[in-house]
Amino acid sequence: MSVSVHGFFGGMPLADHKAMAMQRPTQSIPVPEALYLPLKGHRHQPLDLHQITDHLAVSVGQQLAAGQTLTRGMGDAHPRLHAPVAGTFLGIVSRPALKDMGHDVPCLHIQTDRTQAPKKLPDDYPPNTPLPEITPDELMDHLQRMGIVGLGGAQFPTSEKMRQASGGIDTVILNGVECEPYIACDEALMRHRPGTIVLGGRLLAKALGAKRLIVAVEDPLKDSHGSVSDGFLACIQPHPLDPALDIEFIEVPSIYPQGAERQLIKTLTNQEVPFDGLPKDIGVICLNVATAASVADAVIENTPLTHRLVSITGPGIQNPCNVYAPIGTPVTDLIHQAGGFNCPESEIDLIIGGPVSGHTVSDQRSPIDKGSLCILALTRADRPNSVGSMPCINCGFCVSVCPAQLLPQTLFKLASQGAHEKAHQMGMMDCIECGLCAEVCPSHLPLLDWYRHSKDQLRALDMDQRRQALAKERFEARNRRLEQRQAEREARRQARRARLEANSSAQSEIEAAIARARQKKEGES
């Protein structure tokens, strides 16, 4: 069966600039002096310190072997961390957060042993590697132990994603569509380890009972340097070990944000994932190719997720390249590996992520986490002219590119007036933060900044409401308990009184009988 490619509303082709990072071979980085593993899970859930210390699997000053488990059992929102290299655990320190400008994040501080050789990007598995025997439950537990999370940016624990999806999955999609210009870490991986990716996909498909495995990549990758597809095509020949699985390799048009999960699913299946649902509601699960590769590594080599490919690129970087780096490496070390900046630092606009939806990196001491795809250095010359922004002229450019089919100008007006509740009704939470609206806005409005702010506000509001609801519930429960107790007491009293009355009436009956007997006696006498 072959998949026809549909489209999604909005979007825009962007110049990809991927060749910049691809011009050099993938390199590994000399072991950094110190690593700082950020303790910040999926969706910015803050952790308090005692919560962390409770779950540390190591003690301060302890020697660490490479791959040793550092944290455990903090729930799915905070996947496990492992020591990327051998070293000494020095405790928990605060480092500037990569994405939230001006905020700090608690990190596990590791003093590394610099005599060890850096870890290289592992070789590819041969296409006919047999699948190990592992039950779905074992696989999920194992992935959780190995700290496997979505490597496309969201860092959602893969085990949890599988648990939510289990039952009713028909298709596993491996997303090799790089979201934004410049980012090329997935392309590098797909060129080096297509077999590993497909193997990871087969493991996932088998565990989830899926009948189809789709590997999706952008079509220009076909002809940029040789072909990504050749590598894949060699691995997806009908496989004797799982003949029931239908493996397909699909090239999708490179229209930003094609790599966004819901947009990709729409393109491949022509179905929209319901706004309040998950892809599994339409029988699909979608994982990044790098995640699939880390699943394969975790199962076959027993390797925890400790390293990832990061693109260090952009016109401000001396030697743009893809680097295989330990999680927790400070940004400075990565930039150093790529030859530093090629112009004065004051000219540089440093970004984590891509140019359209990325965040400004304000402090180069910030360490990378499992969701860091790209460190991008743009130069002043690439910046919007500093005219600042004009009022919205309602030109509608943003409406015509918005893949979530929102009215970005209306959301902007509501958000900037502080009317977040109204913005919510107009679909603020449906914004996928692709940043295209800001990219085309002739008034240079920082639209995405406003949306992120508004969403933060809404989440805070929601948290408050939840907290209030919880308090209310507790209060009501207490009232109910009190009432119940009161009622019980009342009932007991009633019962007692009834008993007494019954007693007293019995008493009076007795007395009456005695009286009657006495009268009788008196009458007789």
């Binding site: 929209e272 140019p355 009022p391 919205c392 920082p446 900044d449």
Partner: protein, 353 residues
């Protein structure tokens, strides 16, 4: 907060507001050229006057409102309003027509509402409506187009008429001007003539308005350029043009003596200009794709109603202003379906997670 995080977009947008407005001005060049060819030098003086008034008013108001004058003058939006206004008034209209028109357009309709992006009404049309009410006579005296008169007023005549008013020319003014075809149709109809009787006059030319049809063509070309440049989408122009044809065709087919032909409706007045340059004004128009179409159809219907029964020969300006008032309502009921949401139901209990 935002100020601190105002780091996006990280790349220059493809266009800024001045470039968008600049494209609109470029798209108006064919119309200006045809206008000059048909009616002579007048348009250039009118353009200079209108742009001059617009920029001065804008500068003064920005100063008063303590906004950066240079930045906002450079956005060219005042110039676009001025050019549209200049193209709408008779080429020999006296200078104070521009003055009053721009006063209403820039000061009242635009700056008092909060400047670019905040005006509820289309500034050029506010200006035009103001002068058509203030100077009804001056606004009907159009120069006879070259296609009929074989000549156009010379530089001197134009200059004197605009600077000193039409009286300064005495009888010459009557000799070189006449009512517009739409006006003629209206008075003819009021006199009880049938359309075919009125239509014999050479002023109705090939498609219903000699000379004017070339102007309509020039707007069409400019408008297609704007669509090609993706400054506007095809929705509004198509809705206006197609709307006009669909609404007027049945009547004309039934009784051409009573109803004007669709082509005449389009060629004789400013509907084509409206389709590409007025109804497409983003600020005072609807924000939603569906709303834009409803807005356009509304403009067409009201224009045709005013032409047929109203007190003014061409109703575009009033139709646009009336529809501007409905925009908030239209926007409210045409919110598009969001990705992943069911088709009809608007869910109020959206999750934040």
């Amino acid at each position: 907060m935002i100020g601190q995080r105002a780091t996006l977009p990280h790349r220059p947008a493809r266009r800024n507001v001045s470039q968008v407005m600049g494209q609109v001005l470029i798209a108006l060049l064919p119309a200006i050229a045809v206008h000059a060819w048909l009616f002579g030098w007048g348009i250039f003086i009118q353009l200079a006057l209108a742009i001059g008034f617009a920029l001065s008013f804008e500068a003064v108001m920005l100063q008063l409102r303590q906004r950066p004058v240079g930045v906002y003058l450079k956005d060219l939006s005042a110039v676009v309003a001025a050019v549209l206004f200049a193209l709408s008034i008779p080429p020999l209209a006296p200078w104070w027509v521009s003055g009053v028109g721009m006063f209403f357009a820039i000061i009242i309709a635009k700056q008092l509402y909060g400047g670019i992006g905040h005006n509820l009404f289309n500034p050029a049309m506010v200006g035009f409506a103001a002068v058509i009410i203030a100077f009804p006579l001056a606004l009907t005296q159009w120069v006879i187009p070259r296609t009929l008169a074989q000549t156009v007023p010379d530089w001197n005549t134009t200059w004197v008429a605009i600077l000193q008013g039409p009286q300064a020319l005495g009888g010459t003014m009557d000799a070189i001007s006449q009512a517009t075809p739409l006006d003629q149709l209206r008075t003819g109809r009021l006199d009880g003539q049938t359309l075919s009787e009125i239509g014999i006059d050479p002023m109705f030319g090939l498609f219903g308005a000699s000379g004017w049809e070339w102007l309509a063509l020039a707007y069409l070309i400019g408008g297609l350029y704007l669509i090609g440049q993706r400054i506007i989408t095809w929705h509004v122009p198509l809705a206006v043009l197609l709307g006009t044809i669909v609404i007027t065709l049945p009547g004309w087919l039934m009784d051409p003596d009573l109803f004007r032909s669709p082509l005449q409706q389009l060629a004789a007045g400013s509907l084509v200009m409206c389709a590409f340059f007025i109804a497409t004004d983003p600020v005072s128009g609807s924000s939603t794709p569906k709303g834009k179409i409803i807005f356009s159809i509304g403009v067409v219907v009201l224009t045709l109603v005013i032409r047929a029964w109203g007190g003014f020969p061409d109703g575009v300006a009033f139709a646009v202003l009336l529809m501007n008032m409905f925009v908030p309502l239209i926007d409210r009921y045409t919110v598009p379906r969001i990705f992943g949401h069911p088709k009809h139901k608007r869910d109020e209990t959206r999750s934040v997670r």
